[in-house]
Symmetry: C3
Subunit: 484 residues, 3 copies
């Protein structure tokens, strides 16, 4: 079957099916094999490279990719030099640049910004990083690196360590690994743990998460600080193909004098630097620096890392020792180099200049994304993530809040822009009502506290959620007696 | 006849005749019709894109245009990163970059900077905005938008509102509209009125200006603040062609209880954002924000706006409501999109890669520019505009002041760089003499106050103007008795 | 013989032999002759243009050169926008960008930075200026300008004035001029004299340096401040070819009432601006401004300058009067324009897209570089130049100090990165030992003060140099009695 990605966007890694990801890899292989022949594939096409946050690697590899395809690049590399500095909205910029260029690549500090660009531009949009949210093209090249080394992603054991909290490359990567049937192991250093919304989403996918607190790692010096490990495995391991017979996981945690093995064999160790620029004061920056993990020869002398490839999205700071550069397991520079063929593949596919003929076979995803009801009424509920694009001064003039109702016990909303959830402490400010009960009857327009038992009485599809009691009253509702 | 613009500059919109502007539109139509075929028209040519002020739209559309023609781009996007930061003059930069590139596009905060670049570079130069002065390529696409919609510019009724003081796009546009026989209506909000030098120049063109103060507009909320309207019409309406029979202007101003209609029918409403970055402290910024006009559905429900297209050079801030985006009259995104074909046309014409075969017919300009005597002696008179390129520390070492004598009642000089006039308060510092009277006779070298009756006795072509009495004495003149 | 420079780096001008430099000129001539035909020579190739310091001229001319060859450019123009701002090392950046691009052009404020890039990137690297160290492509176009004018470089009289201390273009140029047999004359204004490490290196080449202090120049006003002149001539003037018969140097210095002519005839006057951005507080900036030389018509009216061409790497500030622009001797804008063909030649040669067939003849260098022992042990000695790449926080994690032992009377080490020498005041902190004496005998592991007579007893190839007594003791050495 022909995979044609023309006119598609890539905002989160979920925008591509497993087969489509494999189509990208197929084309990337062609690109890498004979790069010089690709010159002209995107002749006359223009890519807009809009980088509103520092970047070397991502921007330069996208621009190289477009150049190697024979296309042209227009670029913005500094927010201070653009009309955004004059107070222009992202939507306006998207509509204008979308009339100049044939494809837009955007990096922006606000989470959900790339989605807004895709919503308003008439051309394909690639998210090259939106705050701490996602960075899907990095995920593609991370997966490509794993695939090149191990031929398959199914059943691989991938250990992730470093900044799991603000590292957007990690957030994109784990969902993709899950879909391809890999097993994961999050080594969580204190203060930079995987965010709860990511863990919840992994559970929604049906994945099994097991947490082992206070693990002590022999190995590098920094290993002396205990950390928590979360082990993530596919919902039904029987569905894993035969070739991964060595997924024989024995949990081995040092506790009460006993050693339990956390992961018998690690196929890849994915390290990330601390995203200092995203840290908030309350994160206690200096404290974290001291206990941040370091990957060095000592850590990697453990038997389970004997064949593990070492990956890093780069740039590194101190978490990956220079002595590792000469180690044959180190793949991070090769991984960075894959950025060019993978992005050439991505650009040529989204521009419709290439398509891929893929074998007919069943879809390969090992997990299925759960669908939720969408809440779109503008009744005062707001995303509580201060970095979300939907709450910015210049953007809230036109962006209507939009959420998925991911839980009603307690009420939890996921912002469709930044994918972050409303925090529990927001719940007491919220009020609810039913759109059905009061039809035509003004006296039935009653509202209740969102954390009251009334939530269970309203069907999710009829739910109205108010940001405050005042929001409810402004719309003609009265406080219901039963629920105070 | 063949219109060949090869090697020409575009510094102000007056650099192109009406026929030449129509040639640009002719080529822009070809570009828009089949954009992909234009790749290669400027093969091997290099455009220097020098932006010393923030820009997204203009820079990216010029660069896109050059790329779509198959040419290359070198660019500077930040004054901090260039040798100008090392104290280099604009002239030196122009001479050097003019030896690298085949064409230069420049935006600069100093008024008249683009003219200096054109004076010193050996290649064509396009002014992409010089301070609050001009932005002629924007004017071309504004005119193109009007022409696309209404087929003609003759007799169109164009209302302009917003920041008429610092909005350079407006200053370029009004002269062009006048030349093509359009009628204009300036809705002047307090504090952002059209500068007097623009009004004077419109009068020089022979246009009729009528001012109606304190008009109240029904319509949008912001309309509650009264504003002045200046109505501008061609010198001889009889010269307007037949097809514009509906230019039946009835003036309707609310005054003394009577309503007078200011403009029966508006064909286009041209809105601009407040140019906050150009505002001076004494302009009283916050005050203006409160009364700044807002274009929204309410304003546009007036009958006269029924068919008006809404234009905006973008970026917008708050003066154009988001609700307008879905209104069929809104043209501003389409207008921005026209930037690419119009600039492709402009680049290919100035590079001599295209020419246009235009029908032979009489020139279409409805107004004629008045010619003035030029004053070029370096006798101490300086442009009083602190943003003029001619008074900058790095530039005054080589730029000689140069003025047009636009009036002698009282003496008023127009700087040939920034086109601003000497303000009345400068007059008392100036002194005059005649170059003719004293020929050979040292005792006749007398100077007089510039605001004295002696001004009338000296023929303009013999006039010497001193910046101060000291300047006069330094050149061997003595104070004349009669004129003290 | 075919000169093939494919895969070579250009970090200092010494990386190219005289014949190779002439090959660059040969190809530059072809480029200049028919520029439009070169489009396509580097088709499909990508140049990375990494500018971590302000630049217009150099960056734009390299980018123009690549564009005119039909290649593409990816560029970084601001350190604030890159991963270097995240604490990434230059080596990591080099390894990554070297996997994207086919050639790297780098400007960086740290001296020796380009060498590090070349050490780590797998593609050719061109140094476009590393701090105050070198700028060899500027030297190529300076030499090309001289050659175009005078047909030969042999025996030319070149006077250099301006900032000889921080002007990196001057430091690259003088070695090249020496190699081609030119004579030089450094007009040293107080505070901006030629650094001692440059003078030493010139002496190593066997050149004869004669200093005439307190010379008074007739000529320009600024000439009233006396300055020192250093006259540099080839080791064996007899080796100079016949055509330069007019190198008949009479020294004429005003001293004790007598006038001595310093240089009978100047063929080129090379002026540089004050490198204010490199000045340190202790340099006393304002003081220097007052006495900085100015090249103007008055200075150039001296007979010896009658045919001298005036060169300047630009940008100029105040040291080159605008009145010179119209003078036929002024070559600086033409010189800047040569940047494009010379850099086209350089890029196409290093990319292996061009080669040059040069006549077989003896090598033309009039001087020979002296070879020194290299000291590479990491025993605590550090380069004392605070702008050297090897001592920067992010770089010293992986760069091992490396020196040439250029003298042992007293001990003087030249850093292989920045080429600066250890200053005399560093000597008392250094200690020495011999690697030979103590072989196998722990009790013989003695260390001595580096400025003691023991230095003469140790053969340079056996020398161990410690950064401090503590460094020596840490490595198991004891203080030798005799040398305290």
């Amino acid at each position: 079957m022909i995979i044609d990605l023309g006119k598609r966007d890539l905002i989160t890694i979920e925008d591509l099916s497993n087969r489509e990801i494999e189509a990208v890899f197929r084309v990337a292989d062609q690109m890498a094999e004979n790069m010089i022949e690709q010159f002209g594939v995107c002749r006359g096409k223009v890519m807009a490279s809009l980088f509103f946050e520092p970047s070397t690697r991502t921007r330069l590899s996208f621009e190289t990719a477009m150049n190697r395809l024979g296309g042209s690049v227009i670029s913005v590399t500094d927010i201070g030099n653009t009309s955004l500095a004059k107070g222009e909205s992202i939507a306006d910029m998207a509509r204008v640049v979308g009339r100049y260029a044939d494809i837009i690549v955007i990096r922006h500090p606000w989470e959900g910004a790339a989605k807004v660009v895709a919503d308003y531009a008439e051309v394909p949009v690639i998210n090259a990083g939106d705050g701490g949210h996602q960075h899907p093209s990095q995920t593609l090249l991370d997966l490509y690196t794993l695939k090149k080394k191990w031929k398959t992603l199914k059943g691989l054991n991938v250990a992730l360590l470093g900044d799991l909290k603000y590292g957007r490359t990690v957030h994109s990567l784990v969902f993709a690994l899950a879909r391809f049937g890999a097993l994961m192991n999050f080594r969580q250093s204190p203060g930079v743990e995987m965010p709860s919304y990511v863990l919840r989403k992994l559970r929604e996918y049906g994945l099994v998460l097991r947490k082992y607190p206070n693990v002590n790692d022999s190995g590098s010096e920094s290993g002396s600080t205990p950390f928590d490990v979360i082990y993530v495995s596919p919902p039904n391991q029987a569905r894993l193909p035969m070739e991964t017979t060595d997924i024989d996981i024995q949990i081995k945690v040092r506790r009460g004098g006993h050693d339990i093995e956390v992961m018998k064999k690690v196929d890849a160790l994915y390290v990330t630097r601390r995203q200092k620029e995203r840290f908030k004061v309350e994160d206690g920056s200096d404290e974290i620096d001291k206990i941040y993990p370091v990957v060095d020869k000592k850590l990697l002398q453990e038997e389970k890392y004997r064949k593990a490839i070492v990956m890093h999205p780069l740039p590194r700071v101190g978490e990956l020792a220079y002595e590792m550069d000469a180690d044959p397991r180190s793949m991070y520079f090769k991984q960075a180099g894959f950025g060019v063929p993978v992005r050439m593949a991505l650009l040529s596919l989204l521009l419709g200049a290439k398509s891929a003929d893929m074998p007919e076979r069943r879809q390969l995803s090992f997990v299925e994304k759960k669908e939720f009801l969408t809440y779109e009424m503008d009744t005062g509920v707001r995303c509580q993530n201060e970095k979300c694009v939907s709450v910015q001064e210049t953007e809230k003039r036109y962006i209507k809040p939009k959420f998925e109702i991911v839980s009603t016990t307690p009420l939890t909303l996921r912002c469709t822009y930044c994918e972050q959830e409303t925090p529990p402490e927001y719940l007491p400010s919220l009020y609810i009502a039913s759109s059905k009960w009061h039809q035509g009857l003004v006296e039935n327009k009653r509202y209740y506290k969102a954390d009251s038992f009334m939530l269970g009485r309203i069907r999710p599809e009829n739910l109205i959620i108010f940001g405050s009691g005042e929001d409810a009253r402004r719309q003609g509702f009265k406080l219901g007696k039963r629920a105070v």
